[in-house]
Structure formats: C-alpha cells, structure tokens
C-alpha cells in the first residue's frame, strides 16, 4: 500500500520519482559549511577529557562523529535550526558527567507521543537541565525502517535533513528492534517531524510500548541464496496489515514478529520474536556432485571463503561435513555425496560449508516458533516450535488466522507485562497447542518427552468421570 500515490515515490527506476532536490531543507553551502581545518581546531563548549580518550583507537569514534555534528550545527546557527544548536555538545557534556559519576543522567519516563498514536515516540529528559539546557528534552522517535534496511540516498538525505533541522542530528542506525531511530527531539517538534515524515518522505513511525513492535526481516531473497520465504514481502505485508496494532497499544506487553529466510536466523528471530517465522524446505537438498568433488579437490574454498585468513590445512569433507552433520545422515564414498534426506534436520551446516555444491530443496515453506524473550521478567526464553511446517501465500491469510488466535488469547489472559512465552508457560504448552492453536501435539514440539509423570487428565477423558459414591466404595472396602 504505502500512502496512496506514494508507493513509488523514491523509486529511481520510475519516471518522475522524487529526489532529494524535491524536499531538501539545507542548501549545498549549508551542508558544507566547515573545513577539515576548522574541525581539527574545534572545541566543544564542555571539557570532555575522558570522552576524548574514546577518539583514539581504530574503531569509528562516536565522540569524533558527534563533534563534527556539533560544529556543523554551530555554523548553521539557531536561525537555521528548530532544535537546539548546542544539543550535541550538551549530550557529550552530560555523557562526560556520567563517566565521572558512573550513573546515567537521564530522568525516568515521561509519556509522550504524537496525536492518535500510543507508540513510536519515547520521552527523555535530562536530570541536569541547568548544566545542559540544550538536551533538557531529548526524545526518541522510532521510524519504521524499510525491509532489510536498504535505502537510497535521496530518501536518506531527506531523513537527515529533518533529523538535523527539527531534531538533534543524531540517529541510531538502527535500534535493536530494527527501526531507524532519531535521538533527541524536543517536545514541540514531535508533531512537525511526524508531519514531514509522512507527507514528504512517505514513512511512518514504528512501534514502542505495549503493541506490535516494528517487524523486521533478514536480507532474504534480495541477496541470499538460502532464503526460502520472501522475508521482505511477508514483513511488509504483516506490517501494513497490522498498522493499528503497531501504533495503538492494546496488548499486555510488546509483541514481535521477525522473519528469517532460513534456519541461520540472521535477524535472530528465534531469540527475540514472540512469533518467529523461519523459512525451511520439505524435499531434498540439491547436490551438484561435480562441485562437491571440486571442494574435495581444494578447487573451491570451503564456507564461501570464510576461513581464508588462517591455514587450517586441506579441506577434509569427512571431518568437516560428514562427521559434523548433527543428524549423521550423510555419506561420502570418495566420489559421491549421499544424504539420507528424511533424517536431515535442515541445520544448514553442509550447505554453508559447500554453498556451490549444496542447496536447500525447492519445496519450501516455513516453521513458526513462539515465545522468545529476554530475561525480564520470568527469565529468558527462546522460541519453541509450534507449527513445524506450513505453506503460505500472499496475503498470508493462513498465518494471519494464527496470529489472531494467539492475540485473542493473550489479550484475554495475559497479565500486565506478560510476554506470550510466559503465558504459554503459565498455561501449559499443551493448552496453547490444543486449545489455542487447535492443532495436534507433536514430538517436534519438545526436545524429549517429559520425565515427570505428573500428568493432567480432564474429567471427560476418564471413563465414568470423577464423581463417585463413597458409600459404594465403603461397601467394597469397610472402614
């Protein structure tokens, strides 16, 4: 969908697409308003000796980066900015103070947002407002990132102009959940930023609070030979379809969707998503025996060259593939590689070692796992297998049906701040599977069968039910 008429707004391949020139705020002179010399000489208004230690060493220094933004803002001057000129300087100043005090100087809380949305903006205030007035309010906006985080520079430059003009010029690329994050807007600029984002850039806020968090996906079919579902398309469709759930918190707590094209889990769905969608295959691993022999002969580096910088000796297919297969379902007779596919657990190891010889099958679908979360409150959980395999097709109606069953239950029964995984634990996996998902239980859902026999039975499962007559019992068994 996207905003009507704006679906192709940034598409350079489409005639009449938008460019940075159509929306820019700053002129070229304003963008290039300082020299390298000036930057070298530049001192921010606070002494930050400890932070300056962090300018040394090879890894990109966020301190050096903030300094150049600080200089750029100074030279732009307040007349060219809606956010405070000195916010980067005060941000560094306050961080230096935290380095001395070893405590944060951000105040707790402050409910804030744009009109009609419950999420997307997170309030932040300094507790040292007199010392650092330019960051007295320094709110976060989460902006829904494009799937797989591809950008074109016209759009990105536009984003940066808003961020600099109305905010602080500081971003997180990206937040852990995936959003493009603007750090540091003052309260009165939140609505104007939202207007510019939606009107000029065609982008919306992401999720925060007790709602659907911004869904995210791996790079998938865009540049990965292993993607077995169209992660971008699923991510986009589900994000669009559930806009209301994303923007207006009505859940007990956060809920995350993440889409991984294969069991390698590059977006960590299995560790972070309440519903993890993971592409997989059902038929046989495709083998190019010729290429296998080329690997064995040392003609192709194993694992796509991932081991290039160290001498591990010649490639040994027995040791490095056959013996490491967790299912022990592979054989190599010196000429031909055999895989007993019905025993394969689709771990991706052999495929990753020999990407030119082995490929996942062609009959692909996905697994859905449920309930991952970080430790707060009841301890960390990884997603558990709920739906081992299913096909789906755009618009993914069969998946949406599952989502809605899960949400109905969780919204009804979930306690405040109880993630899905915790509710599954509290109610029991069996209930989740048989009563909520309404699917048959399967050994794929467990690592091993239970070792305690404290088994629940329902009254209707036992012949004669639970009501019995003690008098009848006493007739057979006198006191």
């Amino acid at each position: 969908m996207a905003a009507e008429g704006q679906e192709k707004m940034w598409d350079k391949e489409v005639e009449g697409h938008r460019t940075y020139e159509d929306i820019r705020i700053f002129t070229d002179e304003q963008l290039h308003n300082y020299t390298e010399e000036e930057l070298k000489e530049f001192k921010i208004k606070h002494d930050i000796p400890m932070l300056e230690e962090l300018e040394k060493g090879p890894w990109p220094s966020f301190v050096s980066d903030l300094k150049r933004e600080a200089l750029h803002r100074r030279k732009l001057g307040q007349e060219n900015l809606q956010g405070p000129v000195e916010c980067c300087e005060d941000l560094l100043g306050q961080l230096e103070l935290s380095y001395i005090d070893k405590e944060t100087h951000w105040k707790h809380g402050g409910i804030i947002g744009v009109f009609g949305y419950g999420g997307g903006v997170i309030g932040r205030y300094s507790d040292q407002q007199e010392k650092f007035p330019a960051i007295w309010a320094f709110h976060t906006l989460r902006i829904n990132q494009p799937a797989s985080k591809f950008y074109n520079t016209d759009y990105l430059r536009g984003l940066m102009d808003i961020c600099e003009y109305r905010g602080s010029g500081v971003t997180n690329m990206h937040g852990s959940t995936g959003d493009t994050v603007f750090l540091g807007a003052v309260t009165e600029q939140l609505e104007p930023i939202f207007f510019d984002l939606t009107h000029d850039l065609g982008v919306d806020l992401g999720g925060s609070g007790s709602n659907l968090r911004t869904p995210s996906c791996c790079i998938g079919k865009a540049r990965c030979e292993w993607a077995m579902i169209d992660t971008q398309d699923m991510c986009y469709e589900m994000t669009m379809y559930y806009q209301d759930e994303l923007h207006r918190p009505a859940f007990p707590y956060k809920f995350k969707f993440k889409f991984d094209g294969c069991p390698n889990c590059c977006v960590a769905s299995i560790a972070r998503a309440d519903m993890s969608y993971i592409g997989t295959w059902k038929d046989e691993i495709r083998i190019d025996q010729e290429a296998v022999r080329a690997y064995v002969a040392g003609e192709i580096p194993p694992n796509g060259g991932a081991f290039r910088d160290r001498d591990w000796g010649p490639f040994d297919i027995q040791k490095e593939v056959i013996d490491l297969c967790p299912a022990q379902c592979m054989e190599w007779d010196g000429k031909e590689l055999k895989i007993d596919n019905k025993e394969c657990v689709r771990c991706m190891h052999c495929i990753a070692v020999m990407p030119r010889a082995l490929r996942p099958g062609v009959d692909t679908g996905l697994s859905i796992l449920f309930g991952a979360k970080a430790p707060i409150l009841e301890g960390a959980q990884m997603s558990l297998v709920g739906i081992p395999f299913m096909y789906t097709e755009k618009p993914y109606d069969n998946i949406k049906a599952i989502v809605e069953k899960v949400w109905d239950w969780w919204m009804e029964e979930g306690k405040n701040r109880e993630r899905l995984g915790e509710l599954i634990q509290r109610w029991g996996l069996w209930r989740f599977v048989t009563e909520i998902l309404e699917i048959p239980p399967a050994p794929q859902m467990v690592k091993e069968p239970r070792s305690n026999p404290y088994i629940y039975w329902k009254e209707e499962e036992v012949p004669g039910g639970w009501k019995r007559d003690i008098k009848e019992f006493r007739k057979r068994h006198p006191r």
Partner: protein
C-alpha cells in the same frame, strides 16, 4: 520539506491534513537495479577478502558488497558522508545490516576494491577510521548494543563507550577471518536486554548490585503502589504505611536480585550506583540452528567494575576469552560448542576466570544447570575442594 517552527503542522488543527498508518516505504524502491534483477535468483556466494562479498546469480550477474563497521550512533553528517560514497560508487543505494554494519553494493569487483581503498582512507581528525572494512566470515562483526548512559534511564553501564573500547581491542578480528567460526559480541546496558544479548557468543551486560532506594516522598504520587509491588519477579516488595501516614513500599533486600524492574515501573525506586553498578560477562550463546541448536549465553564473570573511559577489565577479559577460543577451538566450532566439548570447567581454567559462588544458579529451573553425573574433568577447582575437606592426602 516544511520549514519554520511548526512546518505543515497546525497546532490549532492537529487533525488537518494528517496522514497516518502508512507504514514504511516499500523496500523495492530501495533495491539497487542489480538486486531487483536477481531477486530470489542467487546461486552462491564467496568472500573474496575480509569485508568483500561476492554473490553470484543464476542470471550470471555478480554483485560485490563491501561491509563497513559502524558505531550505531551516527550523526546526520556521518550519514551524509555515507550517502556521498554511495552516490559515487553505488548509484545512490546503501544498506545496513542487522548488526549495524553498513553495506555498499556494487556491480564490479574493481569498483569494490576501489571503494574499499577509499573507505579505509577516511579517518576522523583524531585518528579513528570512519569506515573500517571487515566483519565477514570467521570474524567478529560490529557489537550490537543498546543506549547506555548516552540515552537511557536504566543503564548500569555505558554502551557506546564500552563498545568502542572493546572493538578497538578486537579490531584485528574484525579485519581478518582467523577465528574457528563466527564470533558475535553483544552488549546490553541493563537486564532489560534491549540488545538481546542472551544468545551471543560473548555478551556484555550492565548490572546493578544494590537494591532500589525508595523515594517515600513521591512514590504514592507518581506511581501505582500495587503495580510496583506486582512488578517484582521475586516478590521482594511490600506496601507499607509509615507512622506519618505516608503510603510507600519496602524492599526485602535479601530477596532483591537488582533486576530494576520496579524502577522500570516506577521512577521512585532508583537503583543505579557508582560502586554498585558494573558489568557481567556471558559466553557461549548462539542463534543459528547450524550444527547445534540455538543456545543461551551463560554467565562466566559475575562482576567487572565500570571504569570509564576505557573499561580495561572488560576489554582484557574479553580479549582473553577470544584468544583462548581462537587457539583451542576446532574449525566450525562456535564458542559455546567448544566450551561444551571441552567442558565448562576446562573453559574456566583455560580462560583463567575465577569460578565464584555467584555462578551457581539460584533462580527458577536452576536445577537444570547442576551436574548430576560423575563425568567431570579435573581442574584446580577440584583440588581446592579436596583440600578444604581434608581429602588431599592419602
């Protein structure tokens, strides 16, 4: 775009011309043409040198990607420089990875190498690289991390500063592919773990060590006391009424494990503290299903102090773990797989990490981590126990 204080927005009529629920821009607009042409057609990939990937399509086209480390916190100026580079070499397209690296995608190998040279020549005035190239294959990529003191209200440590210090220390492992497998480092500055560090090869976790202070004066005004009480996963908080009638709460300090959840719910229960706060190191987690299933990271160091600006104790400990792992693990073995093969007792011995009582789990399901077999290895830990019970001499 709009200019002036309110721009398009009219505070008098906030609903006028409002656009909502449009979602993200469609991803297809942002794909370089070569990516569009080969969408879903990729055959295989190869890493040509650290930081340069080649993907080959069934159409015969090849795409070259140069991967660059980033600090995650990036300014508009930094991103504009990224745009300049993307305009010059990549027709104006660029992408970010899940681990906050930047990827420049080109259609020729020469361009990729030229690009790499250009990227590596760009430095900040104080000397750090702006765009170090690396992070592919058996290397350490960017450290995924959270906000820390720079922008969050609950951290027990900083994020950006610790990450900068650790990445400086591990830089060679970012630039080269010498490890037995991928190694993923993550940081979260408090137990909330926005950074999802609970499944990383090495996790750096900010941790508080003091129970909350209760701000009796304001608590009943700014918080719902039943919510605060309910927030504690250990049931350590109870409501009380003071002699002067003030309604507030008290914490059973023996029970508190400093999770900060009460503070998350209520600003009148702060727990951050200069001496109390510090860093826990976890190790051995993974996310992918490759070979072994995903694993949680395990706590291996119970506490290291916050020592800004360089956190020397933290960087030293992590370097040691990485070096020992690099030396001992087998090809393809992730850190957790290696530790499991040699046994965690050997891990502690080789990494020279003391095993303290804090590492004996005492939370729910702790029993799952206890050893119930006589299959263990002899390390010095055993002789210390034997000695303590008078059992060292025959």
């Amino acid at each position: 775009m709009s200019k002036g204080k309110y721009g398009y927005y009219d505070p008098e009529k906030p609903l006028e011309n409002r656009i909502t629920d449009i979602g993200p821009p469609h991803y297809w607009q942002f794909f370089p043409p070569i990516i569009r042409r080969n969408y879903g057609k990729w055959l295989y990939h190869e890493i040509l040198e650290p930081g340069i990937l080649m993907h080959v399509s069934e159409t015969g086209e090849k795409v070259y990607t140069v991967r660059v480390g980033g600090a995650r916190l990036m300014t508009a100026e930094h991103i504009r420089e990224i745009c300049d580079i993307a305009d010059k070499y990549c027709d104006g397209y660029v992408r970010w990875t899940t681990r906050n690296c930047v990827e420049f995608i080109t259609d020729s190998e020469e361009k990729a190498r030229e690009l790499k040279k250009d990227l590596e020549s760009r430095k900040f005035p104080a000397g750090s690289y702006k765009f170090p190239v690396g992070g592919t294959g058996c290397s350490i990529t960017n450290i995924v991390h959270t906000q820390g003191w720079i922008h969050c209200h609950t951290p027990a440590t900083d994020a950006s500063g610790v990450v900068k210090s650790v990445m400086d220390e591990l830089f060679d492992y970012f630039k080269s592919m010498t490890l037995p497998a991928k190694l993923r480092v993550s940081l979260a500055c408090c137990l909330n773990m926005c950074g999802a560090v609970h499944c990383s090869d090495i996790a750096i976790l900010g941790y508080h060590r003091k129970p909350p202070m209760i701000d009796d004066e304001v608590i009943s005004k700014v918080c719902e006391i039943p919510l605060v009480v309910a927030a504690c996963p250990l049931g350590a908080i109870r409501p009380v009424t003071l002699e002067d009638g003030t309604k507030t709460v008290r914490v059973n300090e023996q029970r508190c494990m400093f999770c900060g959840n009460c503070y998350t719910m209520c600003m009148a229960t702060p727990l951050a503290d200069k001496e109390g706060d510090g860093i826990v190191i976890l190790a051995g987690g993974k996310i992918s299903n490759r070979k072994s299933g995903p694993k949680f990271s395990k706590v291996v160091v119970d506490y290291l102090p916050n020592n800004p600006p360089r956190w020397p104790e933290v960087t030293k400990t992590i370097r040691k773990i990485v070096e020992v792992y690099a030396k001992h693990a087998r090809k393809y073995e992730r850190l957790g797989e290696w530790a499991e093969r040699i046994g965690w007792e050997r891990f502690f011995e080789l990494c020279e990490i003391p095993f303290t009582w804090h590492l004996l789990d005492d939370y729910r399901l702790a029993y799952d981590t206890y050893r119930t077999t006589t299959q263990f290895k002899y390390t010095d830990h055993v002789w210390k126990i034997a000695e303590a019970v008078g059992g060292l001499k025959k």
